[in-house]
Symmetry: C2
Subunit: 469 residues, 2 copies
């Protein structure tokens, strides 16, 4: 049983650290973007060094006080807000934002966990390199949170999830032990892979304090196109064609369903898609190319080959960087349109690529018994990661469907699971999907997870209630 | 304390499984390629299904009998041979070699752990895809062993280590629990990353029985060159230049020191390098290109740009697939030359790229006090992974240096560690480097490793004595 972060404990923490490190919680520390949960906390700690993080955890471990690690607060599954139980300490990394080193020749950057993602991207650009993690929240999320949740985004297809963008970690384990694994090595088989165990564990096994990140060469040229496709199946065949022609230089391959643009027309009428009428299915394709390939010609060559096979029916190839940005902006506004309409239930799912057309065809039928809905299906098709979100019909509100929300979610998740997919693709488990993990997770995996959690955090202080019960 | 796999226990196992599964150890099950250790075993089990593996582990776990998982027997650090303690059961995956599924559109292949690596490559090729893991032992090593050791090889620079080539695993945990994580998903954040914990754990946390592997598009064109460079530092600058021009399409970047070719001239005089005199340092570069780039022209363009900056002084660009193979063969024969000379001490190390020139300059001085030696330095420069191997002078034998072998190794490893490198880069820890791991490993990492090992394998039956004491 945990103890609360009460005034006496707060006083202990204040005595431990330099002045100003412990503050009362501010609203931002207790909110989350979807407004579903209201967090609670006895205090917020803002350590400035790894040693201070270690001192905090050691003290919380001894006292049995829960700790909720906090990055940018942008998580969508409630991993950053503890809503019940004894009030925890929120441990914010917001003051650990230093660049520890930049190594262009090594394609590596060493940063503290509190650095904002956009700053990480900028530091990489400063040395002529690319840090490819690209998220809607990049102006406010922090790299430590990206690592803790193994964030995805639009460039996973080419460059991998956050896990694959990390060479090494520095972290503090639940009892205050420092793990120094901040190497800048591409090959290192000295010991178990604690790095990847901590990445994606959502703050339940320790606090990531710094990371050595993998950078990439900046492609010599980029080109973006928005292509109309006859079906999701055709989109997948187009993806194979693009990868075969271009040896993996497809940097992004995003599916856009017509509903996404319908929502923009309803809620942001100034935004104009380049098609009229808007086709049922489109893909946004980004290529990152080497020297010697003319970007418009490479995309046009792909378009022609695809058109000859009936895989595309129309398209716009950006002729400039600004036109490419404008096409990306259409894609990036889709979540804003969703917010303005107001979803009944949102699903961050992944599927084996070959199961996607069948899922898209079958899923509306799986929720039909719960009412009449509109569906916006979009996302990172190249990764098999769809956002399949359910909305009320025009003139109706999400509140009307509150009673069936859980059943809609379960019906979608049951279908995903039956097709070999995951119901927690890129946003993590947090507190929102803890029940789903218990329901769909492999029993052997869950048993091993519990054993590891008990071994590293025997008092259960780290992010209590997230991921596991 | 473990119990031996004695005749009574062997009889129990025989009663458990269909006939023919349990055999007496054959010499191949007890040997290892460097001839340093002689393994022992009470019996060899050759299960044909995952359920049989589970039954075996459950029985060994209950009885406290050690289990040594065995793939192709090609490991170079003694991970596959238990030399002391109560005789273990060797669990060979050699009969679990089935292809479970091939998915070209998904770029995925699902195979059992006993499939020979060359077969995995062939299955990928059969569906028009590339499985890029490429090792000297690929004709006899098995994918389960590659995963257990997180094997490296010559294409890590572009495609990653074995860990990054794996989408999901099926494994049996030490107590016989099945872990079914055989998904074909590119994004899946539902739970802790057991996959990557098992990968590289060298059979100490369970037995990998099957894997879902990541495939890649086959580059439209490839080209190979052997380039003379003035120094290792120039080679690294050349690598940066190549990556910047070619957006990461450098598939291999291997360093070759003159000593490697000197050894071939001594031991395999029919083999002729394309340079006379042989330069001190060379790199073998492989590019894998998209449609639209002429391969010889792309390599020639790189050569000219590099020559203009003084980064290359001479070179041979293969004009055909056969010529490219011939250049690769020179690289691949270097370990054979090493074997024929006979090393005093071999080191599989990795370093931050920027530390490599300093290491190469300083390392001979670090071993000078132990005698007069020749050094063959070669390896996967793009990954910071060098094989820095120490040999006797001409006319002398390795036996003369037996007394200083450990001290030579320690001096090299001390230097690597002081530069932020790893002394177990791509071959793993096994039994050879257990002492090095204890000596150089981060104390926090070692504490967490021991806690995880105790949690998942409380009786310590899995590969006793490998990796950890």
């Amino acid at each position: 049983m945990l103890n609360p972060c009460d005034p006496a404990f707060v006083a202990r923490l204040e005595a431990l650290l330099p002045p100003g490190r412990i503050i009362a919680p501010e609203p931002r520390h207790l909110e989350e973007p979807r407004g579903r949960w209201q967090g609670r906390a006895g205090a917020v700690a803002r350590p400035e060094t790894t040693a201070e993080v270690a001192a905090l955890l050691r003290t919380c471990f001894e006292a049995g006080v829960g700790v909720v690690p906090w990055g940018g607060g942008t998580g969508l599954v409630g991993g950053q807000v503890m809503t019940g139980g004894p009030a925890p300490l929120v441990l914010s990394l917001e003051r650990m934002t230093r660049l520890r080193g930049a190594f262009a020749q090594e394609n590596a950057l060493v940063v503290e966990a509190g650095m904002i993602l956009a700053e990480v991207q900028a530091e990489a650009a400063r040395i002529g390199r690319l840090f490819p993690l690209t998220l809607a929240s990049q102006g406010s999320c922090r790299i430590g949170g990206n690592l803790a949740t193994n964030a995805g985004g639009v460039h996973v297809l080419r460059y991998g999830n956050t896990r694959e963008l990390c060479l090494g970690l520095e972290a503090v384990l639940p009892d205050g032990t420092l793990f120094n694994g901040l190497a800048r090595l591409r090959k290192d088989n000295a010991g178990y892979d604690l790095r990847d165990l901590l990445i994606g564990s959502e703050g339940t096994l320790g606090v990531i304090t710094a990371a050595s990140l993998r950078l990439f060469p900046v492609p010599a040229a980029e080109v973006v196109a928005l292509l109309a496709v006859p079906s999701p199946a055709a989109a997948l065949t187009l993806l194979s064609l693009a990868q075969e022609r271009l040896a993996g230089m497809v940097s992004a391959f995003e599916l856009i369903g017509r509903t996404g643009f319908d929502f923009l027309a309803e809620t942001l009428p100034a935004v104009r898609p380049p098609f009229d009428p808007v086709p049922d299915w489109m893909v946004l394709v980004e290529l990152g190319l080497p020297q010697g390939l003319e970007p418009q010609a490479a995309m046009a060559g792909l378009y022609e080959a695809a058109a000859g096979r009936g895989l595309v029916t129309d398209g716009v190839i950006a002729g400039s960087v600004a036109q490419g940005r404008a096409l990306w902006q259409l894609r990036e506004l889709i979540p804003e349109g969703n917010r303005r309409i107001g979803a009944v239930s949102s699903h961050d799912i992944s599927l084996p690529l070959s199961a996607i057309p069948g899922f898209i065809a079958a899923a509306p039928g799986a929720i039909r018994e719960f009412g009449a809905f509109r569906v916006n299906c979009f996302g990172h098709l190249g990764d098999g990661n769809l956002h399949w979100n359910v909305f009320p019909l025009p003139g109706h509100g999400r509140g009307e469907h509150e009673a069936v929300r859980e059943r809609v979610k379960d019906a979608v998740h049951d279908l995903v699971h039956s097709l070999g997919g995951s119901v927690a693709a890129e946003h993590g488990v947090g507190r929102l999907k803890r029940g789903d993990l218990a329901r769909y997770g492999d029993p052997g995996m869950l048993a091993a997870m519990r054993a590891i959690k008990a071994a590293l955090d025997p008092r259960g202080i780290m992010n209590p209630g997230a991921v596991l019960d």
